[in-house]
Symmetry: C2
Subunit: 215 residues, 2 copies
DNA sequence: CAATTATCAGAACATTTATTCTGTAATTCG
DNA sequence: CGAATTACAGAATAAATGTTCTGATAATTG
């Protein structure tokens, strides 16, 4: 069906995408409708009519974030046959992410988890499902890794998956903090070491690579 | 000097402490002065006069949080001669913390790091100093550990300290999320394993303790 | 006890915020 | 082209927020 009436100056999905970026940077409460209007070019009235108000637009932004940003990160894990190398690659992605300016925003879902989820059941539910998706993907990859003998004996799959999931929140929290980027890179390196530590292919010694080391 | 005029119904420091708890739970933006008044019993007028307004009271709350809560956690690390065992004990504390109801609030400084630091230089500075204190304490403990031969060869002290510091943010972010407590406990266990992995006292096999395991 | 000082309790104020209203403009359908 | 429909732009509105004012209250000091 074509379009009746005046067309949108900005496509609705693009409106949500721009709102997403602003919420990502400033958080939910500190982003006013005025901010949305002046920063993204969305019409005030449209926020309330087409999108159902600020809160509703925020929820659309969360959904779009998960569909685009999160899914992009998780792709390597949610591929069939993803194993321990995929988990490693998954975390390596964050090293590249941290180099971008947007890396300082952290993760919209993680930020929201701290900011609004504790007091909003609907938001909390979305965050819960996000964490379940993340943990599930990690656990399946760990399961495949174990089946293929990539893991050392005695590794608890559930515990390892939860460790990795928590580490993602840690990276994103650290990334949004004012800590030096080098510290965040070092943190990711530590997680990579922890992953190597459960690998069946024994490492002769802890990899003392010079990356991110103070001079 | 004694007190002139009518005394406070609630001692000023106790007022800050109560405000701290509310900010801790609800965050800065979602806590209104009305909330402070009705929830803590502080007088509206006093908020603006004695404490200099909402933002200033918030900064006092951050300072008190660091002085009381953070310092309590860091005590084991900031003791002279703290080594690898102290680092381990430091993280074990969080397991007990998570069992308390207040564990679901996460850490006020970590929450603030995500919520307001990115847009407020004064707050960002305080968070920066907090992270520097945390990382410094961890680094000094790691240094002692190395000097005493508690660490495996080739462990990068700065990288390890940053890893531990990031892990603290991870724990607090995960703790505030709607994830099941068991997942957070498992995450802490993973960090403990990572610490054991740099220990010179080689472990025969990954400790497959049943704690926190799904049945 | 009277004077002084500082807090309290609640009203009052100015600003900000989210939402809604109003007239205009841009498109599609008949 | 004319009618219908929908979005735009900015003003208007109602609620919420942070701050300030006002009279009353409770302590100290001389």
């Amino acid at each position: 069906m074509p379009h009746r009436g005046r067309p949108h100056k900005i496509a609705p999905e693009e409106q949500v995408r721009r709102a997403m970026r602003l919420f990502w940077r400033k958080g939910y409460y500190d982003t006013s409708v005025d901010d949305l209007v002046s920063d993204t070019g969305i019409n005030r009235y449209t926020v309330c009519t087409a999108h159902g108000g600020k809160k509703s637009l925020f929820e659309k932004a969360l959904a779009l974030y998960e569909a685009e940003v999160t899914s992009s990160f998780l792709a390597v894990l949610e591929t069939d046959g993803a194993g321990l190398f995929a988990i490693r690659d998954f975390f390596c992605q964050f090293l590249a992410f941290l180099e971008q300016p947007i890396g300082a925003y952290g993760c919209l879902l993680c930020n929201t988890s701290s900011e609004v989820a504790p007091d909003d059941p609907a938001i909390a539910n979305r965050i819960e499902r996000y964490i379940a998706r993340l943990t599930g993907a990690l656990r399946r990859a760990a399961q495949s890794a174990k089946a293929r003998g990539e893991l050392r004996e005695g590794v608890d799959l559930d515990q390892f998956a939860d460790y990795c999931a928590g580490s993602v929140l840690g990276i994103m929290s650290f990334a949004r903090s004012p800590a030096p980027r080098r510290a965040v890179r070092n943190y990711v390196q530590g997680i990579l070491h922890a992953i190597d530590a459960v690998s069946a292919t024994a490492k002769p010694s802890p990899p003392n690579d010079r990356k991110g080391k103070r001079t």
